[in-house]
Subunit: 226 residues, 2 copies
């Protein structure tokens, strides 16, 4: 999908901005997972959840390092996104351990899908960094196991969790759209301003439809209706 | 201070129990620091705080590994302490970033002093592990810097933080005393049941007096009255 290497300063700024968004998302996920770990009914599960948080921090570090390679300070490109992620996590604060597990599986799954989609609009090296932060197979195994065990212990919880999953999807998509609309550099990346593949309204709609499909698949893995 | 190597099963159980208490403390501190990091006004400070949380997790792993060397499952020896630590953190939930910083400096400082004191009552290898989890010089430097910058930005905050420090000390000492009283194996370690140095009421009083002195020193480093 030939598009120029990032020597155009505006293009570089746009990619750094995008990486900053992803980095802030990882740092926020780190804090939330670490805090939600305390809701685990068993110490073993608490440790497993804490380890997921550690992985998010590692991803944060990868993204921050790539931001520095572009000549930007991570904090500077992350700051504009702090409020948005804080608001998302405030609106989706789990009230039970199972809600926390489903949020980690479904919410972070949507975030990873979104990251994979926008990775198509950046240079190859940055794309590799993004892909390294969304390789979540082991994580999915851990979370599916936690979710299934929790649901097996409480057969009546699945209706409420199905609603919870729907709410997480709605909030995540809303946030993605708000961010795309508010951040000019991100919008410039997603459209063809830098000679990249570009994304018109129709293709943007397709992107969100793919995110919804994958969300439905994940809910099905949990045995829940999306 | 010659006392037997831990081949006595009861003695081993008592040490494993003690290590479990410290391990749970580290895991709880990990979650709290990671969550409190979100209160940081600047992303750089947020990252610095998150890194302190990561260090606590590393300490948790050291302690859990030592528990396994004694033939115990970490979760089993940690579980009895989960409620106590949760209650402590619930009662000392910071409401501002500076309260979070002071809690990390003062609260975890008291916990480290307590760990150092009881390390005198365990075998040499376990003592080395405990000492590795309380070597906090770099941490203190980071926290003092965060606290001083925060207080410099708000000259009127020191009175409230002095009260906050006093409350943290009170809650921490209360928790230490409750734990010592409730856990028979810990009481057995601290007294001379296993032929160790032992700790009568007078020496226990001296121990808490030392903790109070070091707390006063830490508060002084912050420029606060204990």
């Amino acid at each position: 999908m030939g598009f120029p290497l990032p020597d155009d300063p505006e293009y570089r700024a746009a990619i750094a901005d995008l990486l900053g968004m992803l980095a802030l998302g990882e740092l926020a996920a780190f804090s939330r997972l670490a805090a939600d770990a305390e809701m685990a009914p068993a110490i073993e599960d608490r440790e497993a959840f804490a380890r997921l948080a550690l992985t998010e921090f590692t991803h944060y570090e990868l993204l921050a390092a790539r931001v520095r390679e572009f000549g930007y300070e991570p904090a500077a490109v992350m700051s504009p996104y702090a409020e948005g992620f804080a608001a998302f996590h405030e609106r989706t604060r789990p009230s039970t351990w199972l809600e926390a597990v489903v949020k980690a599986f479904v919410g972070d799954g949507i975030a990873a899908d979104f990251a994979r989609e926008i990775a198509e609009f950046v240079d190859g090296d940055s794309r590799s960094v993004i892909h390294a932060t969304v390789a979540h197979e082991e994580r999915s195994t851990v979370l599916l196991d936690l979710a299934r065990r929790g649901m097996a212990a409480d057969a009546h919880v699945s209706g409420r969790l199905a609603l919870w999953g729907r709410r997480l999807h709605g909030e995540a998509i809303t946030q993605a759209q708000v961010v795309a609309a508010q951040r000019e550099s991100l919008a410039a990346l997603l459209t063809d301003q830098f000679g990249g593949p570009g994304l018109d309204l129709a293709r943007l709609g397709e992107l969100f439809a793919r995110l919804a499909d994958r969300h439905t698949d994940r809910m099905a893995l949990l045995g829940l209706t999306a």
